[in-house]
């Protein structure tokens, strides 16, 4: 299996993992779209391409692919719930694919990045980028990756847990 096929498979797995994880936490509109895309190879391909896009927009070495898969699944659900944005991810994939003879996801990483750069000022790319940014950086998996613990109330805050523990600053002298 070559690298490109590996990439496709990783995001397919991520997308499928997400369809199970999300059904308990998201609304009906999402369930409807998740059922639709899970049943369709085209939709799975779309999720794979968008997962790769999310990863290249916001690369974090060592962050599980499944996190990106969940994030684009949430973006899909969000866009599908509003007629004005429904289908946005398909439009995005088609635009990425139209840039070269091959499907975008089959390109090398540097070629993929060149396509994103060429399209970065398009409204749909910027829109997806901001939707991904919001969901990725509020995702518990990303928080864990960067050692951000989230809510502190249940731990009594940091008054006794290092709010002033910095020890490497130069002295006053």
């Amino acid at each position: 299996m070559n690298d490109k096929q590996t990439t496709r498979r990783k995001f397919l797995v991520a997308a499928l993992t997400f369809s199970g994880a999300a059904s308990s936490s998201l609304g009906i509109s999402f369930l409807r779209s998740s059922a639709a895309w899970a049943a369709s190879a085209n939709d799975a391909d779309n999720l794979a391409a968008m997962g790769r896009l999310a990863q290249l927009l916001f690369p974090h070495d060592g962050l599980a692919d499944g996190v990106y898969g969940e994030v684009v699944g949430e973006v899909l659900a969000w866009t599908a719930a509003d007629p004005s944005t429904d289908g946005l991810l398909v439009v995005a994939e088609e635009a990425l694919n139209a840039a070269q003879d091959q499907d975008w996801i089959e390109l090398s990483e540097s070629e993929q990045l060149a396509v994103i750069t060429a399209l970065q000022n398009e409204a749909f790319v910027a829109g997806i980028r901001e939707m991904v940014r919001f969901r990725l950086y509020n995702h518990p998996g990303l928080w864990k990756h960067i050692n951000y613990p989230g809510s502190s109330k249940e731990h009594g805050g940091y008054i006794n847990r290092g709010f002033n523990d910095i020890d490497w600053l130069p002295g006053e002298s």
Binding site: L56, L57, F58, P59, H60, D61, L113, Q120, R129, R133, F134, L136, Y137, N138, L142, W143, I146, N147, Y148, P149, G150, S151, S152, K153, G156, G157, Y158, I159, R161, G162, F163, N164, D165, I166, W168, L169, P170, E172
Partner: protein
């Protein structure tokens, strides 16, 4: 005990908005025995509703009604934007009250004026505001403890030569006081302080006013328009109540404190045959001269951990740049403050995409942060108006917000970024990101106080020049923006306005 007033009771003062201005004014009036009804568009949360999660709290308390133009980051909830504010409480300086006299007019576009009051006149009210809010380092309140993020900023600030550096000047309790606990460094100040250590009117002014027996809060009551009589005096406020029905509350006087967008909207939306362009707008100044400060953020990637997520968002300021020093290439000054951000806001602030962006979140624990707030000059083209045709879910005209940075603002921001970078690089920062925060969080000026009615909307007491029983009681009355975070001044002005209203009632001129 909370009171309930009749809709046709025309002896009450009706205050629109329960934030820093509205709730403070309400409480100060009620304490004097004056009957007050406060209309608040948002719901009344309890501290149990406040969780440590930004997006959740934005949904619970943010103002999300349809608007056009740049984001105005305010709240629709009892307590208003005091639920979200960071708690920083510098004073406006003497020379900033005299902006035109001190700076001169900057160019043909700016409309600087002097405030129709002075620091000396406001100082006793600043003192009362600090005591009321519990400003650390004032009124025998201990200094606020030095956090990691503060220590980085202070150490770097000293290296670049700054002298006026303090961890205090925040309205967050360092220790328990007046029934509110000391800060536990939860680090979610901007999502509502769930223990109530940060001053917010939700759990201070509002319940205190209720205890007087002269106050009624009506939450989820969206003010639509202000009515007046044939003499042109305000007679009542039409609002959409909890049940969705329109009702009118009669009033002896009306005080508008909806933050700049809603204050503008209700004044303009109250147009009538007598006041064809809205209330208080005979000189066409309502909605104009919108100011939101020269904002900036600066993030340094430090060589070792800072862990600024363990810290109050903004406890610590450097004042050395707040003065008017034209040799820097701009008029007015700015204040350097600490800034804490969650991962999304880090990514958002840095902007763009790819490794240049993600290097910051990837090294989240090593970030130190600075927030800049500086004076921005009033310009008539920076304004809030109402859309000709578009209506929102309440049937109200959609507000249209226009704001551009003046060259003075750009020069000030550049200078502040250069200094912020120097602060962090003096301590070995490995990377730096900085720039604008294009958001209205400090909102001022759309009904500004002016000596001459042609220059503004309100007089030195916040009373509209046109209507003697119609007042503005929020940051909209600021004649110029100064550099300081506005809340302390809003509170001081509200206390002073309450004295003025009470005195006029005593003299039977209101």
């Amino acid at each position: 005990m909370a009171r309930q007033f009749e809709m046709n009771d025309s002896s009450v003062v009706v205050v629109i908005g329960s934030g820093a201005g509205g709730a403070t004014l309400s409480n100060e009036l009620a304490k004097k025995g004056i009957d007050v009804i406060c209309l608040e568009a948002g719901p009344r949360l309890t501290l149990a509703d406040v969780v440590n999660h930004g997006p959740t709290m934005d949904q619970k308390m943010g103002w999300h009604d349809k608007r056009e133009g740049p984001l105005v980051w305010i709240c629709k909830t009892v307590g208003g934007t005091t639920m979200r504010w960071s708690g920083v409480t510098p004073l406006i300086q003497d020379h900033e009250f005299k902006a035109l006299s001190t700076y001169g007019q900057l160019d043909n576009s700016t409309a600087l004026i002097d405030w129709p009051l002075t620091l000396d006149e406001l100082r006793p009210y600043y003192d009362k505001a600090e005591d009321k809010m519990g400003v650390a380092g004032s009124h025998d309140i201990p200094d606020f403890p030095e956090t990691n993020n503060y220590k980085v900023m202070a150490a770097g600030g000293k290296r670049v030569g700054y002298k006026e550096i303090t961890s205090s000047r925040v309205a967050i309790n360092p220790v328990a006081r007046n029934g509110r606990p000391g800060c536990q460094q939860l680090a979610f100040c901007n999502s509502g302080c769930t223990i109530g250590a940060k001053w917010s009117t939700l759990y201070t002014e509002v319940p205190a006013a209720e205890l007087t027996g002269h106050f009624e809060l009506r939450s989820e009551a969206m003010a639509m328009r202000i009515n007046h009589d044939a003499q042109g005096r305000a007679t009542g406020v039409v609002y959409k109540g909890k049940d969705g029905n329109m009702q009118e509350q009669n009033a002896r006087a009306v005080c508008v404190a909806g933050n700049v967008v809603e204050t503008t909207r209700i004044l303009l939306n109250s147009e009538s045959s007598m006041f064809a362009h809205g209330l208080g707008n005979s000189t066409g100044n309502v909605g104009k001269h919108y100011m939101r400060h020269t904002f900036g953020y600066a993030l340094g990637l430090m060589p070792q951990p800072v862990n600024f997520h363990r810290n109050t968002r903004q406890s610590g300021i450097i004042l050395d740049e707040q003065y008017h020093k034209p040799e820097r290439g701009f008029a007015g000054g700015y204040i350097i403050e600490t800034l804490g951000l969650d991962p999304w806001n880090v990514s958002n602030a840095v902007g763009g995409w790819g490794p240049d962006n993600t290097v910051f979140a990837e090294n989240y624990t090593n970030i130190a942060g600075i927030f800049i707030t500086g004076e921005d000059p009033p310009e008539a083209v920076n304004r809030i108006s109402l859309h000709d045709t578009e209506r929102d879910a309440n049937g109200l005209p959609v507000p249209v917000i226009e704001y551009r940075d003046h060259p003075n603002t750009l020069a000030m921001r550049d200078h502040s970024m250069k200094m912020s970078r120097a602060i962090y690089e003096s301590l070995g920062a490995t990377d730096f990101a900085g720039g604008d925060i294009p958001v209205g969080a400090h909102n001022m000026g759309v009904a500004r106080m002016s000596e001459d009615p042609k220059d503004g909307v309100t007089n030195r007491w916040g009373q509209t020049h046109d209507i003697d029983n119609l007042f503005v009681s929020d940051g909209s009355t600021f004649s110029t923006s100064a550099a300081a975070n506005p809340t302390l001044t809003i509170v001081a002005l509200a206390i002073r306005q309450a004295d003025h209203i009470a005195e006029r009632m005593l003299r039977k001129t209101l």
